[in-house]
């Protein structure tokens, strides 16, 4: 986890935790206050509903009383009633339609005229119900006294719930009952609720929580139940459905068929409940709204915290990153890096520590370089001593031998001198060569654009003139130079020394001095960059083992009896100084191929391409040129 990530995380935590505590606390307080307010309204409404039901009962009683007075004064009705079950053809339709005619002016939704046996003589809410026997309802209403009863009565389209009262009156010697009621439907329940935003539901016995009014209005979840504190009940006596058709199989006894027992048998007391509840929808809405606001505030705080943390962490981490970049540039060759600062904080302290550390490193590196230089000089001195001594030994031996002859056999001296002159020349030549090589260890370069082909031709020509490539030794030094080669940016002397060393090395590798040495050039175009020039020397000599090939460019490494081990080491250094690279391919018995890659001069544009462009243009390993006889 980065320093910046930790800072961001810390910012988030610092912003969100207090906000969450505050939001949740406020939310709980507000919800509790709302619930208390709703509970108060529910309790008040329950009281009002109880009063409403009592008023409705009284109003029903009044209406039925007036209706009974009118009925008693209606001679046609009297005649029809007295006629009993067989009124005449004129009176019967009048009786059958009496209740349905009387209902609208009285404002009743339920009206029946029943005789003492419970037979329905006229029914306004279900005209075709006539002659049905339903003694249970008048009996239940009589038992309820002044209270209204919630009755479930049949209609043609299904059972109807009504708040009912009864009134009895006598015609002649017979007693009749007027059963009247107000429909208890959704509209009635809405009226009870008074649009107060509270829900009034009706639960019949045996229905559990099933409800007439459906789920609380506005409740988005039908199964949502308001908290118990928000529910009140108002109970009323209940008379279940008439005759079997309206009673469910699993209904309680109170809702069973009314004619199952004798008319005056008291059924089990059943109670319906008006349930007043506050819809939890406003609470749910409020809770959701608060959650949304809390979420929005949290998100906003999180964003702000992240921004703030990002700014702070950037201010902290930017100088650290700059220090890291600067420190990353430190190398043994690049110890000139400084860490200047005016800061007084930890970053300033760190910068000063790094600055002091770099200074110490610079001093240490200087001491190291000096030690290295001294070590290298000592090594070279020892080598020079060794080499010179090796070169002087044969000369000293020959001179000792000649001196001995001059003292003891002076006449033999000329002959022997001639015999040993070769040895002397060879020793002197060796020492000359050694001196020349040491002189080349520290060249100074003067780089300029120069033509590698021209230098190759000069070197090969010199090599031929010096006898290294003549026919007497059997070695052939040939050239294969690409036309239109761009100039290279190099020191011509260094380039010449490179080629001389490689050619000498190649000629010396030929078995018995016989074979072929090829000096070649190639132009290489790589990926749209400036062209590069490959300059190479291939031979058909002994080749090298992988171990020898791995060490071929080391100082003083040689496989030749009289080699100095400095030729190829010099080549490597010179090539490096020219900004190029050298590559060797060799295998025992298959010759050796050196390839030097040099950058072209900066001003060199695309010129004529080489006569034979290598197939692998851009490759760092060019193909060996054709081996010509």
């Amino acid at each position: 986890v980065t320093f910046r990530a930790r800072l961001l995380l810390a910012g988030l935590v610092l912003a969100l935790v207090p906000l969450a505590i505050l939001g949740l606390g406020l939310r709980g307080r507000v919800i509790a206050a709302l619930e208390a307010q709703f509970a108060g309204r529910v309790a008040a409404l329950a009281d009002v509903i109880e009063e409403d039901l009592q008023r409705e009962s009284a109003a029903l009683a009044t209406r039925l009383e007036r209706l009974a007075e009118e009925a008693a004064a209606d001679p046609r009705l009297r005649l029809a009633l007295v006629g009993g079950g067989a009124p005449d053809a004129e009176a019967r339709p009048y009786l059958l339609d009496y209740a349905s005619r009387a209902m609208p002016p009285t404002g009743l939704d339920l009206l029946r005229i029943q005789d003492a046996a419970g037979r329905v003589l006229s029914s306004g809410h279900f005209r075709a119900e006539y002659d049905a026997s339903d003694p249970a309802l008048p009996a239940a209403l009589a038992r309820a006294g002044e209270r209204a009863v919630l009755a479930e009565v049949p209609t043609a389209s299904g059972p109807m719930l009504a708040l009912a009262r009864a009134h009895t009156w006598t015609v002649g010697s017979e007693t009749f009952t007027l059963v009247g009621g107000t429909a208890v439907d959704d509209r009635f329940l809405d009226r009870l609720g008074r649009g107060a935003g509270l829900d009034v539901r009706l639960v019949k016995p045996g229905e559990g929580d099933a409800m007439l009014g459906g789920p609380p209005a506005g409740s988005e979840n039908p199964s949502a139940v308001a908290p118990s504190a928000l529910v009140r009940e108002v109970s009323v006596p209940f008379v279940g459905a008439a005759v079997g058709a309206l009673s469910g199989d699993d209904g309680p006894p109170a809702t069973g068929p009314r004619d199952a027992g004798p008319p005056d048998a008291a059924p089990a007391t059943a109670v319906a409940r008006f349930i007043v509840s506050a819809s939890d929808a406003p609470l749910v809405r409020m809770r959701r709204e608060m959650d949304r606001w809390l979420l929005a505030a949290s998100a906003g705080a999180a964003v702000l915290a992240l921004l703030l943390a990002a700014v702070v962490s950037a201010q902290l981490s930017r100088p650290l990153a700059a220090l890291a970049r600067r420190a990353g540039r430190i190398d043994l060759d690049r110890l000139d890096v400084a860490f200047p600062t005016r800061r007084l904080d930890e970053i300033g302290a760190l910068s000063r520590v790094l600055d002091r550390m770099t200074g110490r490193l610079r001093a240490s590196a200087a001491r190291l370089r000096e030690a290295e230089r001294r070590a290298t000089t000592g090594e070279i001195a020892r080598q020079v001593h060794h080499d010179v001594k090796n070169g002087l030994i044969p000369i000293r031996n020959v001179l000792g031998h000649l001196g001995e002859l001059a003292r003891e056999q002076p006449d033999e001296l000329p002959r022997v001198f001639l015999e040993r002159q070769g040895t002397l020349d060879s020793g002197v030549s060796y020492l000359q060569s050694l001196a020349s090589n040491y002189a080349r260890l520290a060249p100074s370069l003067e780089r300029r654009p120069c033509d590698p082909n021209r230098i190759a031709r000069e070197v090969v020509g010199d090599a031929g003139a010096s006898g290294n490539g003549d026919g007497s030794t059997g070695a052939r030094v040939e050239t294969d130079l690409a036309a239109g080669l761009p100039p290279v940016y190099a020191d011509p002397v260094a380039l010449r020394r490179i080629l001389e060393n490689l050619i000498v090395n190649a000629v010396e590798s030929l078995e018995g001095g016989r074979g072929r040495v090829l000096v070649w050039t190639r132009r290489v175009d790589a990926g749209g960059g400036p062209p590069r020039v490959h300059l190479g020397v291939s031979d058909t000599g002994r080749g090298m083992t992988p171990e020898a090939r791995a060490r071929v460019f080391d100082d003083f490494f040689t496989t030749k009896p009289h080699g100095t081990g400095l030729g190829l080491s010099i080549v490597r250094r010179l090539v490096g100084d020219l900004g190029g690279s050298v590559h060797v391919e060799s295998a025992p018995g298959e010759g050796t191929r050196f390839t030097i890659e040099l950058p072209s001069a900066p001003s060199s544009g695309p010129t004529a391409r080489a006569d034979r462009t290598p197939d692998t243009a851009g490759s760092s390993a060019p193909h060996p040129p054709d081996r010509r006889p």
Binding site: A89, R92, P93, L96, D97, F126, R127, A128, E129, Y130, D131, A132, S133, P154, A156, S157, G158, P159, A241, A242, V243, G244, A245, L246, D259
Partner: protein, 440 residues
């Protein structure tokens, strides 16, 4: 004027109002009087062959149109063909499709018709077979009746309804569409009123200067029941028979208009339907599994059908009643289901669709009866409305269909005393009298 009148329909009536109006304007070859007897109209004589499949009519020399031109056999043939086409094109037509066979004009006064099915001569009294002679663009088709519209040269555009039509003829007549209480209309001077409303009838009987004359029994109510199954054109529904006392009680107490039990007059032999009387039909109508609460469906605008359906519900709700046992024995589908049986009134299109589908326990269906439409015709009409009735319901078997005739109803003619003679056709259509020869 009962029902809507669209003059462009002339001379083929599609509603009660058109039937009444066109009956005054266009005549048929034969008529049926209120006693059910055929009488000559445009035809002077007729004869039948091939057991009632071939009929030959000779036109009366007195048969003339509004312009005094003699009616020819070609006029009759072209009228009938046009009527066939009009009924076939009008999918909403209440009347069953008209199926005539080959028409042959033997001479200008003789027409022969070959019917696909045997028929009696009353068939040709159908109002759809009224004759017009010439069709003129934008004018009433030239009629053959005793009355003609005063604006006969100008026919209202198709789709326009007539609210008032003046007729010229033996007497001047104005027919008006009246909304509101019929008693107010009678008090405001309307001379003739056809109604089923017992209040209006009672008012006419009690009031001075008005007479109430019962018309022919013209509408029959059936209870179509059973379950939907693949119709079998060769089969016929079982005709159920309720106790006559029960039907009489239905007619007397359940229906508030004038009605009588339909059992006695129903289903003569030609219908060839198996007949049952009060035998239990166990499992009939059951389709297996829990059924929803059964319901009796009726057309919402038909008060008589509603009364019948509600009474049947009241009886089915209380099977212990002495007067209810017959119903559940004949129609056991009314018991059972997950809830109590109920009645449901559906608007005309919904009722037609429900009746055609046949998924409810029972349907109260009202069909017209009258001239050319005997009990068999009413049964065929019921089958046309409910094709699943073709599936017979075998005794004791599950499924099938049955028809239970319930009641027949009729209208009452309320007329002002002293306005002259009126006659009533066999199908209850009022004829403004005085111009028609009555009886052969």
């Amino acid at each position: 004027m009962p029902g809507r009148v669209e003059p462009a329909h002339a001379p083929v009536p599609r509603s009660g109002g058109e039937r009444f109006l066109f009956a005054q304007l266009y005549r048929t070859l034969v008529g049926v009087d209120c006693n059910g007897r055929a009488r000559p109209e445009l035809a002077a004589s007729w004869r039948s062959e091939a057991e009632g499949r071939r009929w030959t009519f000779t036109l009366s020399p007195d048969a003339r149109d509004w312009e005094g031109v003699a009616v020819t056999a070609s006029d009759v043939g072209s009228s009938w063909i046009a009527a066939q086409e009009a009924l076939a094109a009008d999918a909403r037509a209440a009347a069953p499709p008209l199926r005539l066979g080959a028409l042959t004009v033997i001479d200008p006064r003789t027409l022969r018709v070959d019917l696909p099915e045997p028929a009696t001569v009353e068939f040709f009294a159908r109002p759809e077979l009224a004759v017009r002679t010439r069709v003129r663009a934008g004018a009433w088709p030239v009629g053959t009746g005793p009355f003609r519209p005063s604006d006969r040269d100008r026919l209202p555009p198709a789709g326009a309804l007539a609210t008032s039509v003046r007729l010229e003829g033996p007497v001047a007549v104005e027919m008006r569409a009246i909304s509101g209480d019929a008693r107010d209309a009678l008090d405001s001077g309307v001379d003739v009123w056809v109604t089923r409303d017992p209040v209006v009838i009672g008012y006419a009987r009690a009031g001075a200067g008005l007479s109430a004359v019962p018309l022919a029994w013209d509408r029959r109510y059936l209870l179509a029941t059973g379950v939907a199954a693949a119709p079998d054109p060769s089969a016929a529904p079982v005709i159920l028979r309720a106790p006559e006392a029960a039907l009489a009680a239905l007619a007397r107490d359940a229906v508030r208009i004038e009605a009588r039990g339909a059992g006695a007059a129903a289903d003569p032999a030609p219908c060839s339907a198996p007949e049952r009387r009060g035998e239990p039909d166990r499992g009939a109508g059951a389709t297996g599994g829990a059924r929803p609460a059964p319901r009796i469906v009726y057309p919402a605008g038909d008060a008589a059908a509603r009364s019948l359906a509600e009474r049947l519900v009241a009886l089915a709700l209380d099977p212990s009643r002495a007067d209810a046992g017959w119903l559940l024995e004949l129609v056991p589908g009314l018991a059972g289901g997950v809830g109590p049986v109920g009645a449901a009134g559906l608007a005309a299109p919904a009722f037609a669709a429900a009746l055609r589908a046949g998924r409810d326990a029972a349907y109260v269906v009202g069909v017209d009866v009258g001239a050319g439409r005997g009990p068999c015709e009413s049964l065929r009409e019921a089958i046309r409305l409910a094709p699943w009735l073709r599936t017979p319901r075998p005794f004791g078997a599950v499924g099938g269909s049955a028809v239970l005739p319930l009641v027949e109803t009729r209208s009452t003619l309320v007329l002002r005393r002293g306005i002259g003679g009126l006659s009533v056709d066999g199908d209850g259509v009022l004829l403004l009298d005085g111009m028609r020869s009555v009886g052969p």
